[in-house]
């Protein structure tokens, strides 16, 4: 069943169809703009689409870290970098570990310097007490005035007009008890306590103290730009800002005048999580005590996430250093019942109520509704902040998008010229048989590109070069076979036996030749990095594709050609 022409054609058609499907451009619709974009399914390397590749390692000139410690440090750094890059909002970032290094690939970055700074800053963790927000509320009027002064009232008109839905926000959050926010608030509630889990104090209750002010602010929206954006949070000292307004508000808070207007001893931090309330999505803003309770370097270790034996809710244990434990003890003693925010890289990751005096060992208890995964994530955050490691960039590669486009265009032209040149030579040299070889060559190109797309291999500039090189070499197997067939014909055999003998005798040379090149390709893949690996992948896929197209496709086409010629005892080769 595999021998007959019909079955051979079916197999070839199936393979061509599969590869063809892998190559159909996908239509991606942008959710924001609604524009659709047709995307070529081949994954392009950074050298072709433009972007940045960073290889970083832990800066450790004395070689203090080794073995498991180093391994753990790299893992923690990986978490830190992942968190930050996700926040940076790059499309499809690749962040992976390679040995003791971390490779970060960011496609289409507009501002490589900023991306690099964000990725490589040393993680900085602090535990800070969440204030009741009273000082901040009193200072709000001053802050609003400072914003109006610096930005100018005419610029603000536009901004405040866009923030109409704030009226709804106050309503929703003011009546949090019966809205979706209530559930949310309950879920997010966490508590910290010492090793003794019996301390069963009530979690912090929502306060509506600031509701009045917030409502006021809406009435005088034009004069009070920041107040207008602030909604009541789930705890004291937390305010919710609509997600779309967050960048504006963040920019205002950076203003010189605003910084001066802030009350003493207080800092503002954005939270990482987004809070859903009603239809909108909000980013929390926290008013924290400027003086941290403890900093990350006083944290010894954290995790693994666990479940409380009696109540079964997820818990995250952590441990402070000897020095840290004294500081922590004093700090928590003063602040029992207060909320403590966990701040990593200036952003509040989570917060929890301090239930008792804490020292060496403590645990963060998540609310019963929280998933175990949330606890694991929190443990990773704590570990990332504990004993933070300075990071060193050992390799950086930037390619602008325009240069990438040039490379693609040049590669495409070279590819077409190369293939047309080879086709012309084959047709001139082998006539009818040459056309068969060209048919096989075209299926080769489809297999090759389909294989690249199907395996989700990345196409790089050296990869394109490998692709073009392989076109020239792909006909080698055909040439070997045809030369054999010619020899057999010259020896006086009939076309059909000559073709059979030609294919049979050429096989061993083809296999040997392909295998040795495959060995080289595999070694290149194993030892190469980035772009060279791209070359190795195209080389290896190319060898497999050319082997199949020469041995199977050409032979099938040859059989069809001979059948069509019937009994005529000649063959055009």
């Amino acid at each position: 069943m595999f021998g007959s022409v019909r079955w051979r054609l079916v197999w070839i058609a199936v393979l061509v169809t599969i590869c063809g499907f892998a190559l159909v451009p996908e239509t991606i619709v942008d959710e924001v703009t609604g524009e659709s974009e047709r995307v070529w399914p081949l994954k392009l390397g950074l050298d072709l689409q433009g972007g940045m590749q960073l290889t970083v390692e832990i800066y450790d000139p004395e070689g203090a870290l080794s073995g498991e410690d180093l391994d753990d440090a790299v893992d923690r750094t990986l978490t830190t970098i992942r968190n930050r890059i996700d926040e940076f909002g790059v499309r499809e970032p690749t962040i992976q570990r390679s040995g003791n290094r971390i490779i970060i690939e960011l496609a289409g970055v507009d501002n490589p310097e900023q991306a690099k700074r964000i990725a490589t800053e040393t993680a900085f963790m602090e535990f800070k007490i969440v204030t009741d927000g009273q000082d901040f509320m009193e200072a709000l009027e001053r802050i609003d005035r400072a914003i109006v002064n610096e930005v100018g009232i005419e610029n603000l008109q536009v901004t405040t007009l866009e923030t109409e839905p704030e009226v709804d926000l106050s309503d929703i959050l003011g009546g949090a008890a019966d809205s979706a926010a209530a559930e949310d608030a309950a879920n997010e509630e966490e508590a910290v306590e010492g090793e003794d889990p019996a301390a069963g104090e009530d979690p912090a209750t929502d306060s509506l103290a600031t509701e009045e002010e917030a409502a006021d602010a809406v009435d005088e929206a034009t004069a009070r730009p920041l107040s207008a954006l602030l909604g009541q949070g789930r705890i004291l000292g937390e305010y919710l800002v609509p997600q779309e307004d967050q960048p504006t508000a963040a920019a205002w808070l950076e203003l010189e005048g605003v910084r001066e207007a802030l009350p003493r001893g207080v800092t503002l931090h954005w939270g990482v999580e987004q809070v859903g309330a009603g239809a909108g999505s909000y980013v929390p803003l926290y008013v924290l005590e400027a003086e941290p309770l403890i900093t990350g370097d006083m944290l010894q270790d954290a995790g693994p996430a666990n479940r409380d034996p009696t109540f079964n809710q997820p818990i995250v244990p952590f441990e402070t250093t000897r020095r840290g434990s004294r500081v922590f003890e004093r700090g928590t003693a003063r602040n029992i019942g207060e909320n403590m925010a966990i701040v990593l890289d200036d952003r509040v990751q989570s917060y929890a109520v301090i239930r008792s005096v804490l020292s060496r060992r403590a645990q963060i208890e998540l609310t019963p509704g929280a998933s175990f995964q949330e606890a694991q994530e929190l443990a990773l955050v704590l570990r990332a902040g504990a004993l933070p490691m300075p990071i060193e960039v050992v390799e950086e590669r930037n390619v602008s998008a325009s240069l990438g486009e040039d490379s693609i265009r040049q590669g495409r032209t070279a590819f077409i010229i190369g293939i047309v040149g080879v086709i012309i030579v084959m047709m001139l040299y082998y006539r009818a048989a040459g056309i068969l070889a060209v048919g096989a060559l075209l299926t080769y190109v489809i297999f090759m590109l389909g294989g690249l797309a199907g395996l989700e291999a990345t196409l790089t500039l050296p990869g394109i070069a490998g692709l073009i090189l392989s076109i020239g070499m792909a006909v080698d197997a055909n040439v070997l076979i045809f030369e054999r067939v010619r020899e057999e014909l010259a020896a006086g055999k009939t076309p059909r036996t000559a073709v059979d003998a030609g294919f049979g005798n050429a096989l061993s040379a083809i296999i040997d030749a392909n295998l040795t090149t495959l060995i080289t390709g595999i070694i290149l893949f194993q030892f190469g990095t980035g772009a060279v690996q791209g070359f190795a992948v195209t080389l290896c896929i190319g060898i497999l594709a050319s082997f199949f197209s020469a041995i199977y496709v050409t032979r099938t086409l040859f059989i069809m050609y001979l059948n069509r010629r019937g009994s005529r005892e000649s063959v055009s080769i």
Partner: protein
């Protein structure tokens, strides 16, 4: 159409002039390497900074060098890239770094000097690679391991598929190709980087590929006729495979030439090395691999003849 059909060139009797030619080319190449003080390794192997800068205004290597020197950066290799029909003036800037130097600082310094000399909007850094010396060393080491391992594995494969003497001849031919390729790399002042190493490994594969096809035919012919002298069998095999050798090299060269002409600045050296490699590989499979096989055979026969007499 056919070329070299029923060819009957006496390749093997040309082997002594061929040895001489090979020796001469290798010597010139090695002298060039010695004269230049070694091969020029790119920043991928030394660590350093590689910048491709596109200027929208006309400028030249001298002006750029002055700008960099004023800014305190010396030892920069500057090369103008000729891109056909481009609207910008493109230059490649390379600075190797030592173990103690900070590659990122050098890069920032270069950018600052360029901004002082040229207005900030008049140039764009289209490509910027910075590598620490440590990473460069590692790349260099893995490249050497990759080339050696590639050699070793192919040798094992050949030993498995052919008699040992075929393997030895094939490896000698490949070493010959690599020596000549390195010589050309030095003569044309092409820098050694990861792409060049990939090209060299491809040449190893290609050269072996060519040699294997010839040897496969030799093995087949040796099995068929036992009466014919060894050198005649070799020569006949070479002639029989000649059309294939020429045609395959030809189609590969067509593809490579289209890369050299159109492929752009980054690909051009890579494709250039491959072209040299294909030419040398074709030459060596005819004039080096088979003659060496004959020498090994003759030597073995003489030794066994002597052994028989005593």
């Amino acid at each position: 159409m056919r070329v070299f059909q029923n060819a009957n060139y006496k390749f093997l009797s040309m082997r002594r002039p061929a040895y001489f030619a090979s020796a001469a080319i290798i010597t010139i190449g090695l002298l060039s390497i010695v004269f230049r003080g070694g091969l020029r390794t790119g920043v991928e192997f030394t660590g350093g900074v590689l910048l491709e800068v596109q200027f929208s205004q006309t400028t030249d290597v001298g002006q750029i060098r002055d700008a960099l020197t004023d800014g305190g950066t010396t030892g920069v290799q500057i090369q103008q890239l000729r891109t056909v029909g481009a609207e910008t003036y493109d230059f490649l800037l390379r600075v190797p770094v030592g173990e103690e130097e900070d590659q990122n600082a050098i890069r920032d310094q270069i950018r600052a000097s360029l901004e002082t000399q040229y207005s900030a909007g008049s140039f764009e850094i289209a490509r910027g690679d910075t590598l620490s010396a440590k990473v460069g060393d590692e790349f260099q080491r893995t490249a050497v391991i990759a080339v050696l391992l590639s050699f070793l594995l192919t040798l094992i494969y050949l030993a498995f598929r052919f008699e040992w003497r075929f393997g030895v001849a094939a490896v000698i031919a490949t070493v010959h190709d690599m020596l000549i390729t390195f010589g050309f790399i030095s003569l044309f002042d092409i820098e050694i980087n990861l792409a060049t190493v990939a090209a060299i490994l491809t040449i190893i594969g290609y050269s072996l590929n060519d040699t294997i096809v010839v040897f496969d035919r030799v093995r087949e012919n040796l099995r068929k006729k036992r009466k014919e002298p060894y050198d005649a069998t070799l020569n006949r095999s070479l002639n029989e495979t000649l059309p294939r050798t020429v045609l395959t090299s030809g189609t590969t060269l067509i593809a490579l030439f289209s890369l050299v002409v159109i492929g752009g600045a980054v690909i051009r050296p890579f494709a250039g090395v491959l072209i040299i490699g294909v030419l040398i590989g074709t030459y060596s499979s005819i004039f080096v691999a088979s003659p060496v096989l004959l020498e090994i055979h003759d030597r073995a026969r003489r030794r066994s003849a002597i052994a028989a007499r005593t």
